[in-house]
Symmetry: C2
Subunit: 348 residues, 2 copies
C-alpha cells in the first residue's frame, strides 16, 4: 500500500472567494460560510485541472499509484499573518471542514490533517481547541504546524525548540497525533518566496529542535519535517562536527532520528542522501502531489513529483525498507488501523 | 596542487582586543591600530592552537595536504551590523591589512581575499574603495561578500539578484576578481546562529541570483557560493520544476552553472550530490580549515573537514575532474598565475 504523508487538499474555488471576501471585509461582514455541495467537492478532486499541475488531483494520485493521501490545507493560502486573527480562525475552520468532507466522500483515498488557526497575535494555547475539534470530533489523524505565523514579516516567534511551542507539543501528545512542520505564506520584508520559505523554516526548525531538550521533554512527540528537512541532511557534516564540541553531547545523527522526514524531494540523488542520513525507518513517503513538482521531466516524461518511481529506482533499498517508507511508518504514526480503518481495509 | 578556496585568516589575538575596544568606545577613541609584529603573525598561524580546532592553522593545512589557501576575514567576527559604520570600516581595513601581511610572510601558502566594509547604513558604492585598495594596491585575488550586513537583525537589503548589488558586481568585473558569497554574524531577532545563517543566506542568494538577470547583465562576473550552495543542490528538484513553468525558461540546471560552488561540506554523500548537480567544472575545493569541521570523526579518526580525502574517495571522479576541483578552476578564477606567481611556482 502506498501512503502519501504530504498532500494538500484541492477544494472548490468557493473556498478562495470566501477567503478573498474575508481579506476585503476583515470581519465586518461576519463569519459567513463556504458554499460547496458534495458534487462540487467531488468535481474539484476528480475533474478540475489546475493549469500549473497539468491534470486533476485524483488523476495525479491514480497515475502515481498513490493509494491513500494525508491531506492538509494548501499552505501558501493559509494566511496566518493576516489580521484580525479571527479571520484566520474562520478561514482555517472552513478549510478543515472542507478537508473533512473530502475525506468522507473519498474514505479510501484521503485521510485528514488539520491546519491550526495560528497567528502572531494569538497564543499557542489559543490554537488547541481547533486541533481538539478536528482530532476528537472529526477524526483527523495529524496536524500541520507552521513555524513562522508571521509569514516572513517577522519578528518571528521563537524557533521550535523553545518552550513557546510546548502547549502545542503537549496537545499533540495528549491527542496522539503527529505534526507535519510546514510553513505557510511568505511576504516582505522576507526576500524569499513562500516555496523557498518552506525550506528555510524547516532548516531552522530542525536545527532548533535538535539543539533543544524537546525530544527528552516529549518522548512521545512525533514530528515530521516537510521537504526532507530543508538543508540539514545535505549540510549534516557541520552539525555533526559542531555538536561534538558540546559537553556530553548526544551525537547529531542520533538526534536526527528523534524526528521523521518526508521524502518530498524530486531527484533520486537527494532522496538517497536523505535515507542514508536518517535511516529508512525515519522516512515517510511524501510527494505533495499535485504541487510544486507537478511538471514533467523532459528527459524521461515522468512527473518530477512521481517520488514513488524515484524510491523504486534506488537499488540498494530492500523490500522491507521500501515498505516502511511507503506504508508502515505512516500507518503507525497516523494510527491508521485504529483511526481510519476504512482507508487501510482491503489494501495490499 | 591542492588549492583551498575557502579559508579564513588566523590572526594574533590583538585583532580581537582591537575589535573589543572599537565596540566599547564606538569611535570615541579614534581609529587606532592593531599592534602585531611579524613574529606575532607567524606564531598565530604556526603555533597557536585554538582549542575548538585541536591544532594550529598550519598544522591543519599540512596534515590535509593543502598547498595553498585563499584566506579572508573570519566571517562571524566581521561585525557588519555594528554602528557607527566607521568602526566597521576601520576593523575591516585592519583585518585586510593583517591578511596581506600574513600572505607576504607565507607567500607559497596563502593568497588573500578581502572583506568589505559592508554596513546596513552605507551604500554598496561606499564599499568599493576598500575593494579597490586591496586588489589594486595589495594584490588580493578575491572578495568576500556578505548578502546580509544586518546580520539577522533585518530588514535585510534586497537579495543578491537585485540591482542594489550592481555597483559591487560592476567593480568585481572591472577588477577581474571573483566574490565568495558568505554571510557574517547573526543576532536576534534571527532565530539561527551565525553558522546556520551562512546556510540560509547562501540558499536565498542562489535562488535570487538564478531568478534574476544578473548572469546575463554581467557575463564576466564570477560568484562562488560558500558551503556548496546552502540547501539548493539538495532541493534542486523543486527549483527545476518551478522554473519550467516560466515562459521561455532557461533550465534551472543550466542557470546553476552560471555560479561556482565550493566543496565545503563534510560528508562524501553530500559532496557527490553537489558535483553531480552542478558538474565538476563548477566546484572548487574548499575546506574552511580550520573551522566548523575541525573535529575528528570518531569512526575513522579523520578530521570532518578533511574534504580532500572525501573527494579522493569518490570513485566515479576521474583524475581530470579531481584536478579541476583541487586546482585548475581556482587557479583560473583567481588568476593565480598572473596575480600570485610565487604561490603557484614549483608546485605540482
Amino acid at each position: 500500500m502506498i501512503i502519501d504523508s504530504h498532500g494538500h487538499v484541492t477544494t472548490p474555488e468557493t473556498l478562495y472567494s470566501y477567503k478573498a471576501n474575508l481579506l476585503a471585509h476583515r470581519g465586518a461582514h461576519g463569519r459567513g460560510r463556504v458554499g460547496a455541495s458534495d458534487d462540487d467537492i467531488r468535481a474539484a478532486v476528480i475533474d478540475e485541472v489546475n493549469p500549473a499541475f497539468g491534470m486533476s488531483h485524483m488523476a495525479h494520485l491514480d497515475e502515481a499509484g498513490i493509494d491513500l493521501q494525508v491531506i492538509s490545507p494548501r499552505p501558501f493560502h493559509m494566511m496566518h499573518s493576516e489580521e484580525p486573527a479571527k479571520i484566520v480562525q474562520w478561514y482555517i475552520e472552513e478549510n478543515n471542514d472542507l478537508i473533512h468532507r473530502c475525506c468522507e466522500l473519498f474514505p479510501d483515498r484521503f485521510v485528514a490533517m488539520c491546519g491550526l488557526p495560528q497567528s502572531p497575535t494569538t497564543d499557542p494555547t489559543d490554537w488547541i481547541p481547533e486541533m481538539r475539534r478536528c482530532v476528537e470530533e472529526l477524526g483527523f489523524v495529524g496536524v500541520l504546524l507552521n513555524s513562522d505565523p508571521t509569514e516572513g514579516q517577522g519578528p518571528p516567534p521563537p524557533p521550535m525548540g523553545d518552550r513557546y511551542w510546548y502547549p502545542v507539543y503537549e496537545a499533540l501528545c495528549e491527542l496522539g497525533v503527529p505534526a507535519l512542520i510546514h510553513s505557510a505564506g511568505c511576504r516582505p520584508p522576507a526576500r524569499e518566496d513562500y516555496s523557498l520559505h518552506f525550506i528555510i523554516e524547516e532548516t531552522i526548525s530542525v536545527a532548533s529542535l535538535l539543539k533543544s531538550s524537546v525530544r527528552h521533554d516529549f518522548p512521545e512527540l512525533k514530528l515530521i519535517v516537510s521537504h526532507a528537512g530543508g538543508a540539514i541532511p545535505y549540510q549534516i557534516g557541520r552539525f555533526i562536527s559542531n555538536a561534538s564540541r558540546e559537553p556530553n553531547s548526544e551525537p547529531y545523527l542520533e538526534r536526527m532520528r528523534s524526528l521523521y522526514f518526508d521524502t518530498c524531494l524530486y531527484t533520486q540523488d537527494a532522496i538517497e542522501l536523505l535515507i542514508k542520513t536518517v535511516g529508512a525507518d525515519r522516512c515517510l513517503f511524501g510527494s505533495e502531489k499535485p504541487g510544486t513538482g507537478s511538471t514533467r521531466n523532459p528527459d524521461n516524461g515522468r512527473w518530477w513529483d512521481d517520488v514513488k518511481l524515484l524510491i523504486e529506482d534506488i537499488d540498494w533499498l530492500d523490500d522491507s525498507d521500501r515498505k516502511m517508507i511507503f506504508e508502515d511508518t505512516a500507518r503507525t504514526l497516523f494510527r491508521l488501523d485504529e483511526r481510519a480503518p476504512q482507508a487501510v481495509a482491503n489494501r495490499g
